[in-house]
Amino acid sequence: MVFSKKPLLFIIATLTACLSFSGFAHPVQDSVATAAAHPHEATAHAAAGAGHAEAPVLSEADQKEAERKEFIKHHLLDSHDFHLFSYGKDSGHETHVGFPLPVILWDNGLHVFMSSRFDHGHAVAESNGNYYMIGHHDGKIYKTDAAGTVTHDEKGHTTNEKPLDLSITKNVAMIVIVGLLMFLLFAGLGKSYKKNGSIAKGAGRFFEPLVLYVRDEIAIPNIGEKHYRKYMSFLLTIFFFVWFMNMFGLTPLGINVTGNIAITAALAILAYLITTFTAKKDYWTHIFWMPGVPVPMKIILAPIELLGTIIKPFSLMIRLYANMIAGHVVLMSLVALMYKADHALGSPLAFLLAFVLTILEVLVALLQAYIFTMLAALYFGSAVEEHHHEEAHH
C-alpha cells in the first residue's frame, strides 16, 4: 500500500476539520439536564450522530450502557427493515427514520406484508388471521396471539413457534442490490470492449485493472495457465462480491452481510463444491493414498487429509465472518466511547481512533476479499494440479 503525499495531506486535513465536530458529542451536552433545557438542540444532536451510532440520551448510566450494547448487537444482526436513525427519545415519542422491507412467511399458507406493520418491533402484525411479532433478542419473527404473548424458557430464549421465514431482510436486499450493481458494472465493462475498440470507459477503467489483477496475480500463479479459465468467473464474482459487501458494511446503512455466518458459509460451501467436483485424479490420490509414504502412514494420513478438505473451506468461512464482525464491534465500541467519555479529551481521542480504524477497515475490506479469493484459488489449484512424482517430491 503506497500512500502518495496528496491523499495523506487530504486525510490529515479532513481529520483536523472533523475534530471540531467530535466536540459536539461531549457527554455534558448530551446529559438530560441540558436536554431538558434545550430539547431541540438535543434532538438535532442525536440525529446528527445517529447514522453511525446513536448515543441514547438517558439519565441512568447503566441504562445508557445497556442501550449501547443493544444498539451494537442490533447493528450486527440481520433485520426486517432498513433503520437509518431515530431521534426524539427524550421528548417521549421516538421517531425512527428508515424504510420497511417485505416480510414473506410460510405458515400453512403464504403471508406477505410489509415490515412496517411491526412498528420496529413494538407492534403485533396480523396477516390472514395469524399474529406475528419480532423477538427482541434475535430479531427473528415469532408466531403469537392477538395480545402478543411471549413465552420464555429458563435461559431466556423465546419458545414461541417460528414460521418459515423467507423475507427480503436487510441482508437479502443488499445481496440483490449488490448483485444488480455488479451485473450492470461488469456487463457494461464487457460491452465497452466491443463498442470502443477494446478500450474500457467510465467506471470500467477503474475495474479493469482489478479484473486483470485477479487474473494475473491470483488465478494464473495459483491454478496454472492451463486450467485457470474455468475458475475465473467464480473468483471474480467472489472477489467483487465480498469487497462490495465489506465496503457497504462501512456505510451508515449499517448492513453487515459478510459478518453473517450464513452468508460466508454459503460462499465457502460453493468453494468446497467447486474444488470437489472439478478435482482431478491426482487430488484424490493425494488424499486417500499419498504416494511416496509408507503404508501404515498412508492409513493414518487418509482420514486427516479427508478432514483437511472440510477444514479448508471452514476456515474460509470463519476468517471472513470473524474479521468483519470483529471490525464492526471494535468500531462501534469506539464510536460509543465517544459519547461515554468523562474527560474533555476523551471524545476527540475516541473519535480519532474511530476515524483511523475506519480507514484501516477500508483496507481490511479489500484485504479480506483478496485473501478469500486467493485461498479459494489455492484450493482450486490443488484440485487440478498434475503431479509429476519424480520431480514433485524432490
Binding site: 476456515s315 470463519i318 476468517r319 470473524a322 470483529a326 483478496y370 485473501i371 486467493m374 485461498l375
Partner: protein, 63 residues
C-alpha cells in the same frame, strides 16, 4: 468454567499475535534483502498471516 476458557483463548491469541509478528518481521527482512521480490513475498506473507489468524479466531469462538 468460564474463566479457564477465556484464559485459554487469550493464550492462543497471544500465540497467534507472536506468529503474525514473526511473519511480518521476516517478510520485512526479506523485502529489505530482495526488494525486487516484494510482490511475491507480500503474497506469501498475507497467506501465512491469514492462516494463523484463522486459528486465533477459532480460539475466540471456542471461548
Amino acid at each position: 468454567m468460564e474463566i479457564p476458557r477465556i484464559i485459554g483463548a487469550g493464550l492462543v491469541v497471544i500465540g497467534a499475535g507472536i506468529g503474525i509478528g514473526r511473519i511480518g518481521g521476516s517478510a520485512m527482512d526479506a523485502i529489505a534483502r530482495q526488494p525486487e521480490a516484494t510482490g511475491k513475498i507480500q503474497t506469501a506473507m498475507l497467506i501465512a498471516a491469514a492462516l494463523i489468524e484463522g486459528i486465533g479466531f477459532a480460539a475466540i469462538f471456542a471461548a
